[in-house]
Subunit: 190 residues, 4 copies
């Protein structure tokens, strides 16, 4: 089975997710700079979510690039990942408009479940291609992925004490992925 | 005529449908877990619709994969299917926000019509490729498709007595499609 | 210059247009069948617009299929067409929610301008490929396109007397395109 | 690494941006031509933004056409560009509904940042392909890009005196890009 349409559909879904989030940023009624201030928390949540979806697209791109074939299980593992990511516009809007413990918990939980879904997708692809395959080799230990899941899991309960600490933890995961990784770059240059 | 753009357009429409449904899940005003409770029925309807659109994408993917050419009739049969699927965000929002007989009837009727439209699309493709073609062989009896249509048709009137029984019937169709089918997998592996 | 991305971008825009229109169909507050009645005019406008966008996608598909190259002028002629089509969700919502002279005039004017934009696009492509090209041959006289423009132009002023006559004229254009055309089918089969 | 998915994802995002902007144009409540008048400022802002996104798509198309490979840095430079463009529906809605100094400043600032992001993307691609590459040659001095950035930067402060002068400056940038450029056309024909 061809991976082309899986990529095309995932690209489409991720492109819509990353773009419709902006619809949650309602344009303010006034014309003063102060009226824009109310949009700032939603904007910051938007930036955080935009970067996260961008990271997922980036990683998905690399993962599928090394993939040679897909089967029913990987199609559903992929849809499972897209499901949690599709909720990001909702959790972003809630957290952006109501920065408090529960919205931050729900936002982080969605990211955590998306992280786990990505992990499941890599396992499904490795089990299809075999442990010694180029794909398994290219995924390797996926330490960044495991660290991300651990940070989300640790940050979520912190939101009951200090929501902004949790939010900083989520942001630190994004920054970790944005920092160029010499090992990956080396592979890309080849 | 090339099937590439038919796939690309269908992928685009399905990707938008599956993603914009989340816009119907309005972020709650409060910050408590209780305020999230009001979203639960809409969320459950969202999950059901997400899985259904995912199944259609999956089946469409397989169907077009076996297709060798398309003509005017298949283009319109495909648009007819996309039409009923494009109403899913509307029927999902109505059923999610107002769980009662008529919304559940309308939701199921839309799924029923999408099922029939899919059936018409397979017939149009078979008539184009011929009864002895690989495509006709790969579609086979399409028992799952016929069972789905029968379950929808039976479940819709039940909504006047117990809406949640109908909803469970719709969900059972989704589960039937999610369970891996050894015959299909066998073909995919080859 | 490659036509691939022009097709991909147009497919994306048309897929989003045809799908987001459903967001203008607000789910009714009540749970009765009567509460659904208020949606009927918007639904009928939705069907008319869905078929029109479907026809444009279909024709665009055929037109680009016969196209061998594109230049700056055709890129902008294409964006010009997409511009008028991108307004369809707006004109559909206005006409659906307020079925009266001016909304019907504005709806028809948008279709008229889209028809003219399509005509300009065919001229730009013919001038690029040459009068004796396969593309020019495949477009031919484009009688259906010219008839559509004439019907829109005639129907628009009628809306000041009877809006529903204009709407029937718009619908008749859609039906004219839906009826299979033996000449086109013959070419497709080859 | 293949540039195909970068193009596909960018096409998807740009297609969604250019299309969902129309959702900010709320259909008027009345049925008179006068009720449409309130939509005019939003419509004009929509046209300006549509043309700008069209120009970005056009330039992006040409830029990626000459590109032979992409790396992590260019993927992020591309997402950075898409980020500022993704805010256009928001800034368009605010400026269209509230034509005053600050909304015009914010609208122009977003265009300025998108212009700078495009400049960074070209630099990232040139540094990857080398100064003597076909890509570097095809980008050349990018005088139009630099003029655009300069005009935005000059026009933004003018909005505090006369918002419509700034808006005219933004429009003049769009017109500059729309005027066919013989040098570019010459390359396209080859």
């Amino acid at each position: 089975m061809n991976k082309g349409r899986l990529e095309a559909f995932s690209d489409g879904v991720l492109a819509v997710i990353i773009t419709i989030m902006v619809l949650e940023m309602k344009s303010p009624q006034g014309t003063s700079l102060a009226s824009l201030r109310s949009v700032i928390p939603v904007f910051l949540a938007y930036v955080l979510s935009f970067v996260h979806i961008g990271i997922y697209w980036n990683n998905h791109h690399h993962l599928l690039h090394a993939t040679q074939r897909v089967n029913g299980a990987t199609l559903w593992a992929n849809l499972h990942l897209l499901f949690w990511l599709s909720l990001v516009p909702f959790t972003t809007a809630w957290m952006g408009e109501n920065f408090a413990s529960w919205p931050v918990v729900v936002y982080g939980t969605d990211l955590l479940l998306a992280g786990i879904a990505y992990f499941i997708l890599t396992k499904a692809l490795i089990s299809l291609h075999g442990r010694g395959s180029t794909l398994a080799d290219s995924i390797g230990q996926d330490r960044k992925g495991k660290v991300s899941i651990a940070v989300y899991a640790a940050a979520i309960p912190l939101a009951f004490a200090r929501p902004w600490i949790s939010a900083l933890c989520y942001a630190s995961v994004a920054i970790m992925w944005l920092i160029p990784d010499p090992r990956i770059e080396r592979k890309l240059v080849q």
